[in-house]
């Protein structure tokens, strides 16, 4: 009896093995599900894609024609949101990592607010954006109001990713730079930022992805009118809202919903690629020559 007990693997090892298989199983199942989802979407969506679909004007509530107005609205919202959020977030991240430190109250506040913010349903952001940007600032339903609302949602994410990237830069590099009598801005510009670029780029990507995927927050701020915006002060409909509307509210809109979703995913992949390219180019530029 005693011998049998010593030969058997300890209970702890057996149970972690079980948990391991469970975790892997669930993970693989999710992955397969995701793959299936993508495959189904592409199968239905790719045949819809054509030049006419990308550049044409929508007709019949989006059942036919193209999505040019939606694309333009989307680009406005995402470009504005990222264009405003990026300098804000990068500046804040630099200030925190280079001047205040991770232990600072500001960083703890931002870090803490992240957990809260990620738990806030985006409808709440929509209502907030509506009250502040549409009403208080008088922007009305407009792409600009939508973009500003998105800024509130993505800045904390970008700040956190950038601070992580910046603080991961080895102290030896900072010490080397400082000992060479580099001024603080030069140290940041020549040594710290290039080394932190991958982290910062991933933060930007997270922000862009979030902005592209958002629907609820934009319903209340940039609106859902299906028309070509003349300026960011017009209201307009972004891709995610278009997909939502076609799928939920327009009978017979499924085909173009799939088409639009395919465009959204392709857009996301392209932006991903572009950011990787830019950051590796900038990295090479600063590390060679």
């Amino acid at each position: 009896m005693v011998e049998a007990a010593t030969i058997a693997p300890p209970l702890g090892a057996r149970s972690t093995l079980g948990i391991d298989t469970l975790v892997w199983g669930v993970g693989l199942a999710l992955l397969a599900l995701f793959g299936l989802l993508l495959a189904e979407m592409f199968a239905a969506g790719l045949p819809v894609l054509s030049l006419e679909f990308i550049t044409g004007e929508a007709s019949d509530a989006g059942r036919s024609g193209g999505i040019s107005a939606v694309l333009v609205s989307t680009l406005w919202v995402v470009a504005l949101a990222v264009g405003i959020a990026l300098p804000l977030a990068l500046g804040t991240a630099l200030y925190i990592s280079e001047y205040l430190g991770r232990g600072s109250t500001l960083y703890r506040l931002i870090h803490g607010s992240l957990d809260v913010l990620s738990a806030v349903p985006s409808v709440v952001f929509g209502l907030f954006g509506n009250a502040v940007f549409c009403e208080l600032l008088g922007l009305g339903y407009s792409l600009a109001a939508g973009a500003l609302t998105l800024v509130c949602m993505i800045v904390p994410v970008m700040v956190k990713a950038s601070v992580d990237g910046l603080t991961a830069v080895p102290t030896e590099l900072r010490a080397a730079g400082s000992a060479l009598a580099l001024s603080k801005p030069a140290l940041i510009g020549h040594i710290v930022l290039p080394a932190a670029l991958p982290g910062v780029a991933s933060g930007v990507l997270l922000g862009v992805a979030r902005a592209l995927a958002e629907t609820a927050a934009l319903l209340f701020t940039s609106g859902y009118v299906l028309r070509m915006p003349d300026s960011p002060l017009d209201s307009g409909r972004t891709l995610s809202i278009h997909i939502y509307d076609l799928a939920m509210n327009v009978a017979g809109g499924d085909r173009f919903a799939y088409g639009s979703a395919t465009v959204l995913v392709i857009l996301l992949l392209m932006i991903n690629g572009a950011i990787a390219l830019v950051s590796s180019y900038a990295h090479r530029r600063t590390t060679d020559s």
């Binding site: 009598a181 040594i191 060679d288």
Partner: protein, 274 residues
Amino acid sequence: MGYLGDAMDQRQACHEPAAGEISLCTDQLCLSYGSKQALEGVSLEIKPRAVTAIIGPSGSGKSSFLCCLNRLTDLTAGSAVSGQVKVGSTEIYGTQRHDPVQLRRQVGMVFQRANPFPFSIWKNLALPLRHHGVRDKQQLRQRIESALQRVGLWDEVSDRLNTPAGALSGGQQQRLCIARALVLEPSILLMDEPCSALDPISTQRIERLILELKERYTIVIVTHDLAQARRIADHVALFWSFEGKGRLIEYGPAPQIFHHPTHELTGAYLAGHI
């Protein structure tokens, strides 16, 4: 110019520097990291154009002392310095807030682990030069070449200046870091165990280099290698940790410290009893 420090509690201001020399001297220097005191009452006057070796067991505050001499302590949040550090006629921790950037042009530093930037060899040296106003390509090339010559690296790397510095061997990287510290023409060079991660041959090269450099530079080198201190040091300072606080317990010319130490701990440490 007497040695300060062997009389630990004696309070004595730094001497006025002789003309033309950038002197280096500390007086009752204390350093703490938050609530932990790392250095207590260190007073010593570094001899110009000579090699001063700082020895002592690990944790006795040798690296911390070095970081006080170019205000690299500024990088550590929560560090606080009291007492005096004088470089030339400037009190670098004085109330008139000496600009650390100016200071670090005069006081170069080489670290324990070679830390080249993740750039090409060329850019490692060009970056500090450009930052300090050398823009002319011809002049850049000349100064970079002479710095690499001085550390004996020119013949080894002149045909691949555009390759990443990280591809060099450990010894070459450390010599590149020395070249980088020299490229700004400082008058004082601080070295924190520069050979501790190197093989014997690279170590020998760097020791030879240090002996050449002392003709022109004041060198303060931390080393845990007593044999190395015997080989290269003109003056030796022994640090010791008392209840976690680093203190200077003996300072003097190398032969005196090695052959006739006055402090009992020095004798025991050098004999390897501690």
